[in-house]
């Protein structure tokens, strides 16, 4: 006889966080070590504040930080990392420079020595700089043909005005003008231990990891004033921005709202409201425009925290011919959510998802490393998750209804659409006022 009833869940597991140790080195570097010996590896994340760094110079710096030192070529550095099963890479965004990597656990001291060597002695050799800036320019050419990139540029321009977040990818001509002197100046001015956080997660005792970091990185020095960003500007609502991409077989819909930071009392309710609206598959948005209407493959909403503010965004790439109805349904779900309290069961479902995925996200070395590093960027520690789990568990239906009204109201949102204007201007004009903008690519 087959089982026809869905089994109940077994008693809830406890969220147990791994053993962690922390030390502030004499040079001001904060080191956090987390013990997670699930596989014989270590993960490493070095987060350095990078607010207001020039976007073109930052992009070239990320690609050439490991391109050479006084004693080592780019190939030497890569080969020495490989020898311990290691790899390092760097990436910049408007908040931080992140150097991320991993290696066999036994190799940690070697990776830290190489990291120290590039932090204190990267030379940005001109041949490698020339090659890497040309490669970035090539990638920008490809990005300029990708709808996701084009619409993100337009959204940032529309939402952030004069704020540094308005331009997050450089122009090719600016990248091609970056040379060794600019890179050395940015490195010397900003790659300092004070304010930076190094996270080590893996199969190494936390105190031993802290000692290894101290041995390798105590000699990294330098300092400067703390550079902070102004808060993001208030969202200026108005007509939908339409960007023409002739021949596009889909329209990329993006709707932006402002939210509140992780530490705000509404944060847990905002997270749950986002799930109910479109933050996971079992949400109103996905069940409507994908599973009922078939307009799109991967509609979603998300909460994106940055140091200067929090953005909520809704996105869907929809067939060109259903651009009008897809936008209408997306707005309809926002309006209904902002004005009618959600059901108890859909809130409980979102709550269980939020609490369960906390366990999933802290179950791998890489997941833990990313999480600890991001939290540290906001002055938070892993233990913060315990309180956050309690707040998720305690948020009421009323709290979520209020969050929906505050953060998902159509009247408090901005819409941007990238698509074939010759096909979508008519339908979009029928439902809202639109202004045209160029792709700026």
């Amino acid at each position: 006889m087959s089982i026809t009833e869905v089994p109940d869940l077994a008693p809830e597991t406890t969220l147990t966080l791994p053993e962690t140790a922390e030390r502030v080195l004499g040079n001001g570097l904060t080191v956090i070590a987390v013990h997670r010996p699930s596989v014989p590896l270590v993960e490493l994340r070095l987060r350095i504040p990078f607010a207001k760094a020039d976007v073109a110079t930052a992009s070239v710096l990320s690609q050439t930080l490991l391109a050479g030192t006084a004693d080592k070529s780019m190939v030497d550095i890569a080969a020495e990392l490989q020898a311990v099963g290691g790899g390092l890479s760097a990436g910049a965004d408007p908040d931080r420079l992140l150097i991320a990597g991993n290696s066999l656990a036994e190799g940690l001291p070697y990776v830290l020595d190489l990291l120290a060597e590039v932090l204190t002695g990267a030379t940005y050799p001109s041949v490698e700089v020339t090659t890497e800036r040309e490669r970035i320019a090539d990638r920008l050419k490809v990005a300029a043909q990708q709808p996701a990139h084009l619409v993100a540029r337009a959204v940032n321009k529309r939402v952030y005005g004069d704020h540094p977040y308005a331009v997050q990818t450089p122009e090719a001509e600016d990248v091609l003008a970056v040379g060794t002197p600019e890179l050395a100046a940015l490195h010397g001015g900003r790659l300092h231990p004070r304010g930076a956080t190094l996270v080590i997660v893996g199969d190494v005792e936390p105190q031993a990891a802290l000692d290894a970091c101290e041995r390798a990185l105590a000699g990294w020095n330098g300092g400067g004033d703390e550079i902070t960003l102004p808060p993001i500007p208030k969202l200026v609502t108005g007509p939908l921005t339409l960007i023409d991409r002739p021949g596009s077989v889909q329209s990329s819909l993006r709707i932006i709202m402002h939210g509140v930071p992780r530490t705000h009392p509404d944060s847990a309710a905002q997270q749950l409201a986002n799930l109910v609206y479109g933050g996971y598959f079992s949400s109103r948005l996905v069940e409507n425009i994908r599973e009922d209407k078939g307009y799109t493959y991967s509609p979603r909403s998300s909460v994106e925290h940055s140091l200067a503010g929090t953005e909520l965004s809704i996105s869907a790439d929809v067939a060109t011919e259903v651009t009008g109805p897809a936008l209408w349904e997306t707005w309809y779900e926002m309006g209904r959510f902002a004005t009618v309290a959600p059901g108890k069961e859909e809130v409980e479902q979102a709550r269980r998802y939020a609490l369960g995925t906390l366990r999933l996200g802290t179950s791998t070395q890489a997941g833990l490393a990313g999480l600890v590093s991001v939290l540290a960027g906001y002055g938070l520690r892993l233990e913060w998750l315990t309180g956050h789990a309690t707040r998720l568990a305690e948020a009421t239906v009323d709290d979520i209804a209020r969050a929906a009204a505050n953060y998902f109201a159509p009247a408090k949102s901005v819409a941007v659409v990238l698509g074939d204007a010759s096909a979508v201007t008519g339908p979009l004009s029928a439902i809202t006022e639109i202004t045209s903008a160029d792709a700026g690519a």
Binding site: T4, E291, G356
Partner: protein, 436 residues
């Protein structure tokens, strides 16, 4: 610090295997270090088995397996998994299709119920079929049609290399074929391929083996016994003369080229196959690799290059015939013939001048990190166990691979490189379109 001598470590997750009377093979791998489990069901059917005139059907059918089942309405599967704190997905490959969940361990029994229910009978209706055809068309638009280099090279290169429908056709499918799919097609596909005897269930993570065995038996024992269908022979002869093709991509700003060479049978000749896995990394893994150093850093004739085994980049989840693939993007105006000639030069240099023990050792160390890192997730571990079991009858390979790859010798890599000659090569070139 002196150049280190690193010992390549391995993991030793226990692996328990058994087969239910209905033919379902089960693999359990407990690991109590975090309160999470990975559950997967892998069916031995993929893109290569879909019928002519029904390109994309294996993938479309994967979507239909999420549309409700014997005891579950549409949307219920998603809600039960996510409402248990878990995540889910499925994916369609050349030789298999997988369905999986990653959940807090208190939801293990629920996940087993959900998988058993759809193994008994998915709810395939006209309405759900029409809805998912529309969704799949949007998936193809967002990933292939509306992107530069969409489908390059995994959809574009097989028809150059292969002559038979199973190996050559587009696994995403044509809109014409997708729109022609019927409920009867889906029912027949399910009856033939989604048999208990054609599947492996795997569970990894936080559970007790005896308790999990009991739960597996409770939920899967009465799934009707249907044997696995005979697997057709998909083999094709190796190439004896170079094949080249090209196409214009209107959205592509840079030239690109991908080339592939047949490799030994990954299942029946693993020993002969592993040197090619190592070779791909010697050639393209990072700034110290042969082709990145020569083509990207030194000669500047490629702006990026990658190399991997299998058209979908899964060295240990694919059967014969398969290939080593190199894929490169060039700077504007770049010369693809010069690029291929330089690749040939580097392969000859490797074949003639050899590979130092030091160069091989560092590449093997990095491969070990990649494998171990991938297996750190209980879900990936469950998926690997299931694919190794279904394709090789050897779930235990997961714990063996870092060591076996670490035992590949310089001579074996050199011999592998010597086989990548131009006359055995299939290549596809992307010509940048007008919209620059």
């Amino acid at each position: 610090m002196a150049s280190p001598q690193i010992r390549i470590p391995a993991t030793a997750y226990p692996v328990e295997r058994f087969t239910l009377p209905n033919g379902l093979r089960v693999v359990l791998s407990p690991d109590r270090s975090a309160p999470v489990v990975g559950v997967s069901v892998v069916y031995d059917v993929g893109i290569r088995s879909e019928p002519e005139g029904r390109t994309g059907f294996a993938h479309l059918f994967e979507h239909l397996m999420f549309q409700g089942s014997q005891n579950l309405e549409k949307l219920a599967h998603f809600r039960y998994v996510q409402g248990s704190g878990g995540t889910f997905n499925g994916s369609t490959h050349l030789d298999y299709t997988d369905y999986y969940e990653q959940l807090p361990s208190n939801a293990l029994e629920r996940a087993l119920f959900l998988e058993a229910d759809r193994m008994r009978s998915p709810r395939i209706t006209e309405e759900n079929l029409a809805n998912q055809i529309a969704v799949v068309k949007e998936e193809i638009r967002v990933r292939v049609m509306n992107q530069p280099y969409g489908g390059f090279p995994w959809i574009k290169l097989p028809p150059v290399m292969f002559d038979t429908f199973p190996n050559a056709h587009d696994g995403y499918g044509s809109f014409t074929d997708l729109e022609a799919a019927t409920v009867d097609n889906a029912t027949a596909f399910f009856e033939k391929y989604y048999a208990a005897g054609n599947a492996v269930l795997s569970v990894s993570g936080d559970f007790d083996v005896a308790e999990a065995t009991r739960l597996v038996e409770r939920h899967f024992s009465d799934v009707p016994a249907r044997p696995a269908p005979d697997r057709p022979d998909f083999s094709e002869p190796d190439l004896t003369a170079e094949r080249r093709d090209s196409y214009t991509d209107e959205r592509a700003p840079l030239p690109a080229i991908a080339a592939a060479w047949r490799v030994p049978n990954p299942i029946t000749d693993l020993t002969g196959y592993l040197p090619y896995v190592v070779l791909a990394e010697v050639l393209t893994d990072g700034d110290a690799s042969r082709l990145v150093e020569r083509l990207v850093s030194r000669d500047r004739i490629a702006t990026s290059i990658g190399g991997y085994l299998g058209f979908m980049g899964e060295p240990f989840a694919v059967r014969d015939p398969t290939a080593l693939v190199l894929s490169a993007h060039l700077p504007p105006g770049g010369d693809v013939d010069k690029l291929l000639t330089t690749v040939d030069e580097e392969l000859s240099r490797l074949a003639n001048d050899g590979l130092s023990a030091e160069e091989l050792a560092r590449v093997q160390a990095r491969i070990a990190t990649h494998l171990l890192r991938d297996d750190d997730s209980v879900l990936n571990r469950a998926l690997h166990l299931a694919t190794y079991e279904i394709q090789r009858g050897d779930a235990g390979l997961a714990g063996e691979l870092p060591r076996q790859l670490g035992e590949v010798t310089p001579e074996q890599v050199v011999s592998a490189a010597a086989t990548l000659r131009p006359q055995r090569r299939a290549a596809i070139e992307v010509i940048p379109g007008g919209d620059q």
